[in-house]
């Protein structure tokens, strides 16, 4: 009965790394700008399609393509915040939801018109199929392992940046109290724009790993958003390391659900989230 259970749990944890990667950008925008971006998942999918086009056109590896799009991704985030989100970040939630929801629909349908409804994936060659046998019936794919390690590295880097750099301190300052920042002459605009640029960088990285790991189509965004959202809430709003735990928990829940019956895989993650919410609404690792 427990045949392969350990193996499945390990796969679940590794899958959770990918989810944490989706979620870390959302955690940042929620934590810093209080911006719950409904289009978060759609931006990931947009990134995957962009990488797909670059890889197809230039015949290069998705990882190289990812490096190419990181600077423009930062620029896109910076502009998006400056031109659009800056106008809606504030107390009212309706504009935030409507504007990001509108973006989500625009991206999905734009991709549908440009690429059609068929699923695509990014080709990373032999890396995708390589696996390591750890013994005891546990074998992990090299790529899932790489994804997990990258997610941890990304969170570590962001954490360092936020807590060790001058820009990071400014980001935390406006996140603490944007009114106080304004009173002392600390402009939140550029800081928010920088933070959104970083969010887009995490999205571009997620887009690469997701695209290699799974198929994606123009309608894939919302499910990534929901998973990212669940990881953020379960991990405690605004806590980056909490987000990693949130992602891992969803990965584990899905692995266990899939073991019961494959169609329950996705549902199990959502049910875990609702259960956590009912029992511990502040999340599992709340930011003090």
């Amino acid at each position: 009965m427990f045949d392969g259970l350990l193996n499945q749990l390990v796969q679940g944890v590794l899958q959770g790394g990918l989810y944490a990667m989706f979620a870390v950008g959302l955690s940042l925008s929620v934590g810093v700008m209080r911006l719950v971006n409904i289009a978060h998942g759609d931006f990931i999918v947009l990134g995957s399609f962009t990488l797909y086009s670059i890889c197809t056109a230039l015949g290069i590896s998705p990882f190289l393509a990812m490096l190419i799009i990181l600077p423009p991704a930062f620029g896109l985030g910076y502009l998006l915040q400056t031109l659009l989100f800056q106008r809606i970040v504030g107390k009212d939630i309706l504009p935030v939801i409507l504007v990001t929801f509108g973006l989500s629909i625009i991206i999905q349908n734009g991709l549908l018109m440009g690429y059609g409804p068929n699923p695509r994936d990014l080709n990373a060659g032999a890396l995708e199929t390589a696996s390591l046998n750890l013994g005891g019936g546990v074998a992990v794919g090299v790529f899932p392992l790489l994804t997990f390690v990258s997610a941890v590295a990304l969170i570590f880097a962001l954490d360092r940046f936020l807590y060790r750099s001058r820009t990071g301190a400014k980001i935390r300052a406006v996140s603490d109290d944007v009114e106080a920042a304004r009173l002392i002459g600390l402009s939140s605009r550029k800081i928010y724009a920088t933070a959104m640029g970083l969010v887009m960088v995490t999205i571009a990285i997620s887009a690469c790993f997701m695209g290699v790991r799974t198929n994606f189509n123009p309608a894939s965004g919302p499910s990534q958003l929901l998973i990212a959202f669940e990881a953020v809430v379960m991990g405690g709003l605004g806590s980056l390391w909490g987000t990693l735990w949130g992602g891992i928990l969803i990965g584990l829940a899905q692995a266990i659900g899939a073991r019961i019956a494959l169609p329950w895989e996705v549902l199990s993650g959502h049910l875990l989230f609702l259960a956590v919410l009912a029992l511990r609404p502040q999340g599992l690792m709340p930011k003090e």
Binding site: A169, R172, D176, A180, R182, I184
Partner: protein, 236 residues
């Protein structure tokens, strides 16, 4: 002092919050190296005046000139970078940032100058000991020291202090007020807004008494008797 050599010159300033007029019209000057107190009861419009100077009110009429040039239409960051720093009412620190990080935010927004971490730690030695702690873990008085230090880190030519004694024990207030003469001696103009008349007049070179948004009395503390001040404070 004459209007010409004033560091800050305000003429006919009116301040509006939406349709509500918070300040119906004041004139004042502050010189370099001068401590000016503004006293007045709660709701007299003192905070509105300070916020207007740093560009944090809805709308103003009248003229605010700093160092001879008008501040009209300038945003807060530009005003602060130009040399005016505010110690906001209620301190308004960044609670999750360390003491040192809070102070460094002042340097981020201000001018280049001689006041740095060492100078602030020299004025408030306790902050040096606690530099790595988060601001919210410190006592109210220490937090107020951070707020004053943060403003000084901006190397202002004009320092605006809004109710810095509010809710603090007298000995701690002494520790904070003690540094104001040192600051003044660096040639920095200081505006102190207080409800505590005694404290405020003791430190001031000049004072303005505000009643319902207008200055009802102005002068030098040593030349004005207490009864007159009280009369104008309460509008009797």
């Amino acid at each position: 002092m004459t209007a010409d050599d004033a560091l800050l010159r305000i003429d006919g300033l009116r301040v509006f919050h939406g349709k509500f007029e918070a300040l119906p019209g004041v004139d004042m000057q502050v010189g370099a190296g001068e401590v000016v107190s503004i006293i007045g009861a709660n709701g007299a419009g003192k905070s509105s005046l300070l916020k207007a100077i740093v560009g944090q009110v809805d709308r103003i009429e009248g003229e605010i000139a700093f160092g001879g040039s008008s501040l009209a239409g300038r945003a807060t960051p530009a005003i602060v970078a130009g040399g005016i720093a505010l110690v906001p009412e209620g301190r308004r620190l960044f609670p999750s940032l360390s003491v040192e990080e809070n102070l460094s935010m002042g340097a981020e927004v201000g001018r280049k100058g001689e006041i740095g971490l060492d100078e602030v730690f020299g004025m408030f030695p306790i902050l040096r000991e606690r530099r790595r702690q988060r601001a919210r873990e410190l006592s109210g008085g220490q937090q107020q020291m951070i707020a004053v230090g943060r403003a000084l880190m901006a190397n202002p030519r004009l320092l605006l202090c809004d109710e810095i004694s509010l809710g603090l024990a007298p000995t701690i207030v002494n520790d904070i007020y003690r540094i104001l003469p040192q600051v003044r001696d660096r040639g920095i103009g200081i505006v102190v807004v207080e409800q505590d008349i005694g404290r405020s007049l003791k430190v001031a070179d000049r004072f303005y008494c505000m009643l319902e948004g207008k200055f009802s009395l102005t002068g030098r503390p040593e030349e004005t008797d207490r009864a007159t001040v009280m009369k104008h404070y309460f509008g009797l």
